[in-house]
């Protein structure tokens, strides 16, 4: 009974199935990247400031504690919507919030989670703010469910 299903049939399912789905995945990737994303990822506002901000985000390993669009570590708050949560959607309010926040770290409250002092200049904090503001405007299917992230 089981012998009717031979090894070469199994191999053909593997080869045919994976080839088909690799090609389908590539086609979907082209559609996502070339057609859909330009209208969703807010790339028109991807300024020099935002790019510098992304490098600061990476060079200080922010994702080692925080999540951004739900990805990263789960030790500290989600930051893809921090522009809305802490800045109320206003660029100037957010920038001044960020400067105050970054310069008061670490809190050194005993027993509480601590964020290091990254010694960023005001310009760098503004760049980081621009990056987070830009990120908050990516169309991510209305995630997270509420303002708390």
């Amino acid at each position: 009974m089981a012998e009717r299903f031979t090894k070469s049939m199994a191999r053909n399912i593997y080869l045919g199935g994976s080839a088909f789905f690799v090609l389908l995945f590539l086609a979907l990737t082209f559609d996502t990247q070339l057609r859909a994303m330009p209208e969703r990822d807010n790339r028109n506002e991807l300024t020099e400031e935002v790019v510098r901000g992304k490098h600061l985000w990476e060079n200080n390993n922010c994702v080692g504690c925080h999540s951004i669009m739900g990805e990263g570590a789960y030790f500290a708050p989600e930051l893809a919507n921090v522009f809305d949560r802490r800045g109320g959607g206003d660029t100037e309010v957010f920038k001044s919030y960020m400067r105050a926040w970054m310069n008061s770290m670490p809190t050194n409250i005993p027993g509480r989670r601590q964020m290091p002092d990254f010694n960023l200049t005001d310009q760098e904090i503004d760049d980081l703010s621009a990056f987070l503001e830009w990120t908050s405007k990516i169309d991510d299917n209305d995630w997270p469910p509420n303002i708390e992230g």
């Binding site: 399912i13 790019v51 060079n59 390993n61 570590a73």
Partner: protein
Amino acid sequence: MKYESQRVAMPYFVFALILFAGQIVFGLILGLQYVVGDFLFPEIPFNVARMVHTNLLIVWLLFGFMGATYYLVPEEAQTELHSPLLAWILFWVFAAAGTLTILGYLFVDYATLADVTLNKLLPTMGREFLEQPTITKIGIAVVVVAFLYNIGMTALKGRKTVVNIVLMTGLFGLAVLWLFSFYNPSNLATDKYFWWFVVHLWVEGVWELIMGAILAYVLIKLTGVDREVIEKWLYVIIAMALITGIIGTGHHFFWIGPPEYWLWLGSVFSALEPLPFFMMVVFAFNMINRRRRNHPNKAAMLWAMGTTVMAFLGAGVWGFLHTLAPVNYYTHGSQITAAHGHMAFYGAYVMIVLTIISYAVPIMRGRPYGNSNTAQIVEMWGFWLMTISMVFITLFLTAAGVLQVWLQRIPESGSALSFMAGQDQLALFYWMRFVAGAFFMAGLVVYLGSFFVKGQAAPDEEVRGTPTQDA
């Protein structure tokens, strides 16, 4: 051990286990920082400990996969390894690069590390799991390519078995997908999309080929079941893995910018991703029931069964729990994700590497039938302590995650708890997770202790009975 050059697997396995121990130490530090927030601050901030924890895992699993490959490919191909010397050189290069990178994380401020390793020339750092300096990433690529050359030359000049073909395909895929770690566009949404080409297509794609091949090899050796039967199973399992897993990548595309059709594609295909893991359970238990010999290495048999069950629970069941888009909308990036990640990595990849170690290391130490009964009992204590601890780590993190979602995600803005206020409410579960983690460490100590128990299983413990009725 049929070929002398298989022995080069030994340093890979030894170093893998050393890094494993390091990974668990940092896991404990992280677990404690979840409840005692300023523990070791500012000497080892959370982000540094986490980077060490996850990168040690990745690197030691790679050492484990390489050791497994050096061990089994020559035997399958029925020929000596192309170049044992190259394998030794690559071992030292990879070990040195890995160690230096971890020391860099610990003793150099990350931004400084990025600076001195010239990250600005080709910025690839600072992304989850891909924190390695660009120079380390290049090093990994070079080591893997030279490794593939060595193994490829070996496999090509000898017998071409399905185990070897599948293993080589998995390793080749691993190498090709690694190239995406060098692609870091300044558009975060694009960056994230292709980041998953490394992360998802490794662990839910080509690594399953590697796992399947190692499992098939060990089952051939331990059960004596006809290779034809095992190879057929292997093909079906990896077919299912790729058919579900490739489009299943879509479950990561829900909330990072890609269009809405991924909500459907990702949900449907990733809901099927438990299938290959379920088939591995059926496969392993079936082959063992139909065994034509009772191999005296019962510890290896336990690991082989354990890895399939735990992979199915961790990757399959715990993955399914939060993979459907309407559920994932609330659970994405919560402690439920962490629960799934822990059990899936332990079940699928940690345990498959420990399976091949359990089988191969005694042979390389001149104990062809396995370790002494006492050593095996100690090893099995290690198995149960680590595995049960991981079950509890997962359950506590799941409980924490459900509560987190309930407090922070489900209520409307305004009545939902803030992230940190929510975290305070989870402290009890984090403490219990830490205790379970301490038991895991104890299990690891017992496991490592088993290597120091002398003696070997006697050949007469090997019972070669008549084939069972349905074999």
